[in-house]
């Protein structure tokens, strides 16, 4: 089940972040819905082949972000927030948009030029879908 999590050592990001990102993804797409029990830290470490300490850190950071909840002696669970999937995806979109806005400013584009570009991109995407 959890061998779908894959850690790459050529990925520039630290291992604990890769684990976090992939868990976030599973929550975002709904594979792990609210209330779902996460595998134990050791079980996940063994199946992903990373150190326990890395998984422990990933769980801690996710808990700090409010995405998971750890109940003493009973394990870790995805937070019960029913909206968590869409919320995560929206956060992700916001990150992308922040990046786009930053680059647009570097290029000296103003808001209307940026919006034109967005419309053009969206039109291309819809065309490709057909």
């Amino acid at each position: 089940m959890h061998s779908e999590l894959v850690i790459s050592q050529s990925d520039g990001r630290p291992m604990y972040q890769q684990v976090m990102d992939q868990i976030r993804q599973k929550i975002a797409v709904g594979d792990w819905p609210g209330g779902h029990e996460l595998p134990s830290i050791r079980a996940l470490a063994a199946s992903v082949k990373v150190s326990v300490i890395t998984v422990k850190r990933a769980y801690m950071e996710l808990e700090r972000e409010g995405l998971i909840v750890t109940r003493q002696g009973r394990g870790s669970f995805v937070a019960d927030d029913a909206n968590i999937g869409p919320k995560l995806q929206r956060e992700e979109l916001q990150h992308h948009l922040e990046e786009a806005v930053k680059r647009a400013r570097l290029l000296g584009m103003d808001l209307s030029e940026l919006l034109d570009l967005v419309r053009w991109v969206r039109a291309q995407a819809l065309k490709d879908e057909r």
Partner: protein, 298 residues
């Protein structure tokens, strides 16, 4: 406070041309320690002292609660030791060796051994003199793993293995960790392996332990700051800088206490930070060794 699987305190050993000094090492139960050092640093000696095969000249050694070398037999019942220079009997088969282990160890798990045979793709009927290096390492590992030891001590377990064999071995080692009472200590040149599965990392060089920290802290504290110098930038005297490399206006400093303060200080000293990079364990290790050798011979 978790129990300690291994505790070495102020251990020392003197040979004519080599001295092991002030070795302090602690491995908590349920954790994996990677032991990294150049050739001749003292890894094998430390490991053999841990197993009671070499008697320390100074200091106290405790493994799984047993004092070594005095209680080495009691400890060895629960320790699985695989070393790169270990050989099985060439004229005998793997099956013979398995039967030997089964006759000695009550905890020998026949089913698990059969599973490992399959996973490692080993043939029990083959004479051990005819197997490849990788197969031999896997055979030794099988003989150690199938008796479910509480402590696995491995001296270069993945050295000389092809990538597939390495992956198989690492996978089995990580399965050991499922039991929180079982621990692993392994020495390796392969910093990628160490970086991947270790909870704690110990650097050793020239008979001394340079650093022993948990992995995430290591990786968090070390950074390479690439800079573009403005005017009279000099990193001399800047605290927290381990190493500076420079070519004209461009260069990089390495710090082992990464924080916003350090970044600020570098900026204030007259450099524009162009990138902040995490470092691989290999780079951290080399920087540590270089620094410690400079300290000994200033």
């Amino acid at each position: 406070m978790t129990a300690l699987a291994v505790k070495l305190a102020a251990v020392g050993k003197d040979y004519r041309h080599f001295h092991l000094r002030d070795i302090d090492l602690e491995l908590e139960e349920g954790r994996v320690m990677g032991f990294v050092g150049p050739n001749g640093a003292g890894k094998s000696t430390t490991i053999r002292i841990l197993l009671g095969l070499i008697h320390q000249d100074r200091g106290h050694v405790s493994v799984l609660g047993h004092s070594m070398p005095r209680d080495q037999v009691a400890a060895k019942w629960d320790i699985g030791f695989v070393s790169e220079d270990m050989r099985l009997y060439g004229q005998a088969t793997l099956e013979w060796h398995m039967k030997l282990m089964a006759s000695i160890y009550p905890k020998w798990d026949e089913d698990y051994a059969a599973q490992l045979l399959k996973r490692f793709e080993l043939r029990p009927q083959q004479a051990m003199r005819r197997v490849s290096h990788g197969e031999r390492t896997k055979a030794l590992l099988l003989l150690a793993l199938a008796r479910r030891p509480r402590l696995l001590v491995l001296d270069e377990p993945t050295t000389g293995l092809d990538p597939v064999a390495r992956r198989d071995v690492l996978a089995e080692l990580m399965d050991v960790i499922l039991d929180e009472r079982r621990s692993i200590l392994f020495s390796s040149h392969n910093t990628l392996d160490v970086e991947q599965i270790s909870d704690q990392i110990t650097f050793i060089d020239k008979g001394r332990i340079i650093r022993s920290l948990d992995k995430e802290t290591f990786l968090d504290r070390w950074r390479r700051l690439r800079f573009e110098a403005r005017g009279g930038f000099s990193s001399d005297g800047l605290p927290g800088i381990v190493e500076t490399v420079r070519s004209g206006q461009l260069g990089a400093v390495v710090t082992d206490v990464y924080s916003d303060d350090v970044v600020e200080r570098v900026k204030l000293a007259g450099a524009e930070i162009t990138a902040i990079e995490r470092m691989t364990l290999e780079e951290i290790f080399v920087a540590n060794v270089v620094r410690s050798r400079k300290e000994v011979r200033p």
